[in-house]
Assembly symmetry: C2
Homo-oligomer: 272 residues x 2
């Protein structure tokens, strides 16, 4: 183990978890949780043992989108994740259901996220997907600095406003040396359900252009499909249907994760 | 002046500012900044002296949407706001332009927001619009607890996921006794530019339904119009054109603000 730099916390591995993937965005509302949920269910449907950790403690939308909300049980000191569509899930929404906002200061937030990461009985997983809170604030930074993240995904819409914030997220991951698997452009285009003509509601192509400019991979272009939103609102992720762009995204994420892990070279990890 | 409750900071008035309006949302990406920008420019075009404070320090999109980005000057110890489309503006985007994310902890954030509120030379204003950061975290709460806010606006899309978080924002304002002017449903519907048929991309009507359920006013239903996004991306707010729903929103906000101020009754304010 190399000595840590001053002020940097050690990135202890999470026993049993092979790859930890962080899904972030500079801006909220770009579909980060939609991507996380469909990616996790997609990976599970491809046969990978998958977990999904909802790190957005203020606005946890994973329970609604996965159609599950029960109180998790504890075994000894460890919390048992819930399971839906073959994915193990943990979310603040399970612990604070209803409409009351959670008003916590930074340090408490940090501690609950560490608890989710290391106090949950994830078991053996190929992939643990972390749905980060939107933005590039201190909570996001603390988390990606302390978790042994294999790779990160930055979700954006094609609008300039969203791309402006996506670039900040890419800088953040670069800064803390977390490999970037690539950019996902969500809400890329809409095919009118009436006339089937294409509508570029939030513009188009900016995700790919930004990926080229910033020399990161481009992972997927996902349509603005009302069915995606309906899948989220009803707790039935769209990836459960056949032939969606999300399953391609899952395959690209697998390929990029393996690529990035090889680049990183073999690791010798020494436990506590 | 009534004595403050323990732990509650005094809400000192901002000299020269008549009404302080906070625009919030439970979730990011619902169009909170689009609403703030168009509301501010709309109020100015109605003849009100208006300011716009961008309190989203991590993802400040106001400069891009208002088409202005220069470094503000200081006069003595006070910062001079920039002016565009008749609106006085202050944003962290002016001080930290470019793609580097701002990595600040809570207390620094709190201090810069107080600086924007009280260290900026706003002059005489009828309305100062505050574009809050998305969510219901501690930054939002600190701000609305310390600023003498006349009324708040909660922006949501019609999707259940967004409404889930909007309810949290309404609870937050209730909790700290900030009057709620009402809910705005953004991205309500899209008229296909090709066949003119209506598409309910993010569902429809949930904003009005939630307003009824939670006994708050419903202020406006704003279309998901690609022209609104183009206006934002090019720094030319759509309200500058004639006949948009945003000017109706501005008029409703004026009416509700006056209504709420009357309900509150006459105030005797004693300065320091």
């Amino acid at each position: 183990m190399t000595p840590n730099q001053p002020g940097q916390m050690p990135k202890m591995p999470i026993p049993g978890v092979k790859y930890l993937i962080a899904v972030g965005s500079g801006k909220g509302g770009v579909g980060k949780t939609t991507v996380s949920v469909n990616l996790a269910v997609g990976l599970a449907s491809l046969g990978y043992k998958t977990g999904l950790m909802d790190a957005d403690v203020y606005g946890p939308n994973v329970p609604l989108m996965m159609g599950i909300n029960r109180t998790p049980m504890a075994t000894g000191e460890r919390i048992q994740p819930l399971e839906q569509f073959g994915v193990k899930i943990m979310s603040m929404g399970f612990l604070n259901p209803g409409d009351k906002p959670l008003v916590w200061r930074g340090p408490m937030l940090h501690s609950v996220i560490q608890q989710f990461l290391r106090g949950v009985d994830w078991g053996d997983l190929d992939y643990l997907i972390i749905d980060l809170p939107p933005g590039t604030g201190d909570v996001q930074l603390s988390l990606i600095q302390t978790a042994p993240i294999s790779g990160s995904i930055v979700v954006t819409t094609p609008s300039d406003v969203s791309l402006e914030d996506a670039r900040k997220a890419i800088f953040m991951f670069h800064q803390v040396k977390v490999p970037i698997l690539g950019i996902v452009e969500n809400m890329s285009f809409l095919n009118c359900p009436h006339c089937n003509e294409r509508i570029d509601v939030f513009s188009h192509g900016g995700g790919r252009r930004t990926a080229t400019e910033m020399q990161v991979h481009f992972l997927a272009e996902l349509p603005l499909d009302p069915q995606v939103r309906i899948g989220g609102d009803t707790g039935k992720p769209i990836v459960l249907r056949e032939g969606t762009a999300f399953i391609e995204l899952a395959k690209n994420v697998v390929a990029r994760t393996e690529e990035v892990s090889k680049e990183e070279g073999p690791k010798i990890e020494i436990g506590e």
